[in-house]
Symmetry: C2
Subunit: 291 residues, 2 copies
């Protein structure tokens, strides 16, 4: 049986998994990223967890095809380097692929988390069968992963899909030192900065029917629609798949987005929540190994 | 010698040409599009001009590989249909490729003019050697042709690169029934609508040193930079190549664009005028035949 290893390195936790050719998770482990004092120790613990998992699952080394790492950007996917992501202090030009391929004796690939999630939703989730699909993280930040002509698109420096950086309005909340940008209007961090409350808390209140919270989410949804309209006008995708907040809030967030998109884009496309739910992170890393 | 046929159908004039493998124009003809009463007659005259040209040039039919048509959108490049472009009244679902391939006995391909120009600048102009390049028409309208991962990107309905439709500001001049969109701020038609004067006339005045005209062009350049910044954040290209107005006005238009781009984009790229000059239209149609 062909197997793949997935490694999802987040600011809070790191998760590793072993999966099959359909990205089904055969086993997984997780630990707090901050439990290790430096990137080298994180990667050492990643390797140890994976090797233990393989032993437990009684999977022989030759069955392992490749490993995939999903991680916050910026990074250099061709050279396998993690380049100082804001959520991973101290990870400066870390040769993640080289270190792990040496330790695990398999080829290792690296993608940022938006790209990895785009791959997973495209291969096994809401985007199956499409040729042109946009994945929007809709999480703390607002990143996009772009599937164009049936493959992941990176741009010249792995900086394609930096949707959160797009300015939607002349004025408005700040992100990246820019007023009115997409991330400041529609991401979890943006909602928190606008309201002084956690986005999760506002989301829960909105789901419980609180009118003020519903108004906040509706407005974020409208700005999500503005941002998606720009992506539609540039990329003319078949589908936009939205992550974290859209999974949790569903139509509460997406109906206002669809309404504004219909007004704003030349050729509006369907907008749906990600289908892989809680397993998206694990499957995303596995899919990086698979392509 | 392998030869190609190029057909550039514009609202004002139609130009046809015979070219070699380097898109060098061996001979060309043009006629006013309106000199024909309907699309069928335009295509008939196109075919007759091309067959005469081939006779004059003493090129035998087997040397002709393909023909390429460049035309205003919307169109369906896969099915070879021209779909009611605003600049070609009466061209409603015209099967241009079928008609011409029947008449010329060669395969015929179809692309919108922004895509065709993107191909020409990428293959033989300012974008040679790049993998990720954006061409912006900067003409009466504001369309983009996208070269991504070393090939032309179309999207699901040939509507990728509809840059002019992007809203840059909440308020501002109108195009497509939308206030503040890229085309209304930075295209020739946009400048004309904003000032009540022809864009060509303002451009000439600006080149002659008229301060008011210079201010108009500078502002259009700044908005061009705003639009390009969005394309950079989404596509992370290596290069942006700008057509008509940028060819004529050069740094008068492009310096303000580069200045704003440097402030607005996460990874700004060089912005240059198209290199093929007056031959861009003819070469664009030939390049459609060549890819």
């Amino acid at each position: 049986m062909a197997c793949f290893l997935g490694i999802d390195i987040g600011g809070t936790k790191t998760a590793v998994s072993v999966g099959d050719q359909e990205a089904r998770v055969l086993g997984s482990r997780r630990f707090p990223t901050s439990s290790c004092p430096n990137p080298g120790r994180v990667l050492e613990l990643v390797a140890r967890c994976l090797l233990e998992l393989l032993d437990e699952l009684e999977i022989a080394r030759p069955e392992i095809q490749r490993a995939g790492v999903s991680c916050g950007g910026p990074l250099d996917s061709r050279r396998g380097l993690v380049l100082s992501p804001p959520n991973l202090p101290g990870w400066d030009a870390v040769p993640v692929c080289e270190i792990l391929s040496h330790r695990l004796s398999v080829p290792v690939r690296l993608e940022n988390d938006a790209n990895a999630s785009a791959l997973a939703e495209w291969m096994f989730g809401a985007g199956q069968g499409t040729q042109h699909m946009v994945f929007l993280t809709c999480s703390t930040g607002m990143g996009a992963g772009l599937i164009l002509d049936g493959r992941l698109y990176h741009g010249r420096r792995d900086l394609a899909g930096e949707a959160g950086h797009i300015r939607l309005t002349d004025d408005g909340p700040m992100a990246y030192g820019k007023a009115g940008c997409f991330e400041a209007w529609a991401s979890g961090a943006g909602i928190a900065a606008q309201t002084g409350r956690q986005a999760e808390e506002i989301g829960a209140a909105a789901l419980a029917g609180d009118p003020e919270a519903i108004a906040v989410i509706r407005h974020a949804g409208e700005m999500l629609g503005r941002g998606i309209a720009i992506l539609c006008d540039v990329l003319n995708p078949e589908l936009v798949v939205c992550g974290t907040m859209a999974i949790r809030l569903g139509d509460l967030l997406l109906e206002p987005a669809r309404r504004v998109l219909a007004q704003e884009a030349l050729d509006p496309c369907p907008v749906v929540p990600a289908a892989l739910g809680d397993e998206l992170g694990l499957k995303a890393a596995l899919c990086v190994a698979m392509v």
